[in-house]
């Protein structure tokens, strides 16, 4: 809307900022008790659009606040580099549909190595392009991680994640809270 100067009256916000706001206000009652014993490790992907392209680290810091709240601070392992200096996954800019899969996967090799270096079992990818690409490079390069949406882990922590909503969870979490 900025690019084309399209007039609009509404405010534009990301759901990640709202999750963080609701947790701070006590509206979203969620904690990491479910992971106290399990100690399942999580890392995160910073989508370029909400990190570098948003002009600040506000959204990706909110993202980390939400993740640490729901998985436990000790179970979150950040990537290096991170936040607005993180690497693109290689799926953005239309790459998933551009018809150059070999180059797209070569691009994603850096992301794959970053994730593997964290040793985490789960990557939270709050963007569909990132989700699709990180899953694909995980399969391609033989990764040991699962890629999940943020809402899946929030609902898991709330104890309301249904049986049919666990497609992306590994066997270690498939039954948790059912």
């Amino acid at each position: 809307m900025r690019k084309f100067n399209i007039p609009h009256k509404f405010q534009l916000i990301t759901i990640i900022e709202l999750y963080a706001q609701w947790i701070r206000e006590g509206k979203l009652k969620v904690n990491s008790d479910w992971n106290k014993e399990l100690k399942v490790k999580f890392t995160v992907q910073d989508p370029c659009n909400i990190a570098r392209k948003s002009g600040s680290n506000k959204i990706v810091d909110d993202l980390r606040f939400v993740i640490k709240t729901v998985v436990g601070e000790e179970n979150f392992i950040d990537t290096v580099p991170s936040r607005d200096n993180n690497y693109c996954c290689g799926g953005g800019g239309g790459a998933l549909q551009a018809g150059f899969p070999d180059e797209r996967r070569a691009f994603g090799r850096i992301k794959f190595n970053q994730i593997e270096a964290t040793g985490a079992n789960y990557v939270i990818a709050p963007c569909h392009n990132c989700h699709g690409q990180i899953e694909d490079i995980g399969h391609h390069y033989g990764g040991n991680y699962h890629v999940v949406h943020l809402w899946t882990i929030i609902c898991l922590a709330m104890g309301v994640l249904g049986e049919s909503e666990r497609t992306y969870l590994g066997p270690d979490l498939a039954e948790v809270g059912l």
């Binding site: 809307m1 690019k3 084309f4 399209i6 007039p7 609009h8 009256k9 509404f10 405010q11 534009l12 916000i13 990301t14 759901i15 709202l18 999750y19 609701w22 509206k27 979203l28 009652k29 989508p47 370029c48 570098r52 392209k53 607005d84 200096n85 690497y87 693109c88 290689g90 799926g91 953005g92 800019g93 239309g94 790459a95 998933l96 549909q97 551009a98 018809g99 150059f100 180059e103 797209r104 691009f107 994603g108 090799r109 850096i110 992301k111 963007c127 569909h128 699709g132 949406h149 809402w151 899946t152 929030i154 609902c155 709330m158 309301v160 994640l161 249904g162 049919s164 909503e165 497609t167």
Partner: protein, 239 residues
């Protein structure tokens, strides 16, 4: 052996064309330091990298850079311009290299998604009727079989809702059960929200395709619907 570049035979046309559209792109300020390339995940792919691209642009090697498919491998992630000491807007150059290709010759996958979006409101071609049917159907299933969510409310085009959410079309089209967790969170905090029927999908492949007209059309239709039909004060991007 590599052939010397014959500068005298080159006209620097494409650079001027892009600078006409993006005057602040700073192409002439390149120090050739290579910081862009050192931090670029697409460096060396297709025998190209950001620094080389700027050198070729500044030397007038327009044919080579216009022909290279590297512009579709670079994701315009902006890591290069973020690190560049002279703030040279390399992603804007890549965008304009994409835009310089005749529309019908751009990658089929991106072109198809852009056209579907203009036609139906989502890149996967799901019409608003299909979208509405799917979300209401999944919501009914959750109300019936997920304890604690008997009162779950999901609506499309509910006028006056405080929040309007977009939704990546991958969910309603290929994995509708993935929408449930999002709705459960919204329900738990008592959010007053709805989906729009016009341009409801979160993605925008026309932007990737460098189709300014299509990109603009999608956003304009969306903004008009929110302001004039739904009259909602807030739009929530769900990814």
């Amino acid at each position: 052996m590599a052939e010397a570049i014959k500068i005298d035979e080159l006209d620097i046309e494409f650079k001027d064309e892009v600078l006409g559209k993006v005057p602040a792109a700073n192409f002439d300020l390149c120090l050739t330091c290579g910081t862009c390339t050192g931090g670029c995940a697409a460096s060396e792919l297709m025998d190209m990298d950001p620094r080389k691209l700027i050198r070729m642009l500044n030397l007038g090697m327009d044919d080579v850079i216009l022909k290279s498919n590297w512009k579709w491998v670079c994701s315009m992630c902006q890591r290069c311009v973020a690190a560049c000491p002279m703030k040279i807007n390399i992603p804007a150059l890549v965008f304009n290299l994409r835009a310089a290709i005749p529309r019908e010759k751009r990658p089929k996958g991106i072109l198809g998604s852009c056209d579907q979006h203009i036609r139906t409101g989502s890149a996967m071609g799901a019409k608003k009727e299909d979208f509405e049917f799917t979300v209401l159907d999944v919501a009914e299933e959750i109300r019936e079989s997920h304890p604690g969510f008997e009162d779950l409310e999901v609506s499309v085009d509910r006028e006056g809702a405080v929040m309007v959410l977009n939704q990546n079309s991958r969910e309603p089209v290929t994995e509708p059960e993935e929408m449930g967790p999002l709705w459960k969170i919204l329900h738990s905090v008592g959010a007053d929200w709805t989906y729009p029927s016009v341009m409801w999908a979160g993605e925008n492949y026309c932007m990737f395709m460098a189709d300014n007209e299509g990109w603009k059309y999608i956003i304009e239709e969306f903004a008009y619907h929110i302001d004039n039909n739904l009259k909602s004060p807030m739009v929530v991007n769900t990814e």
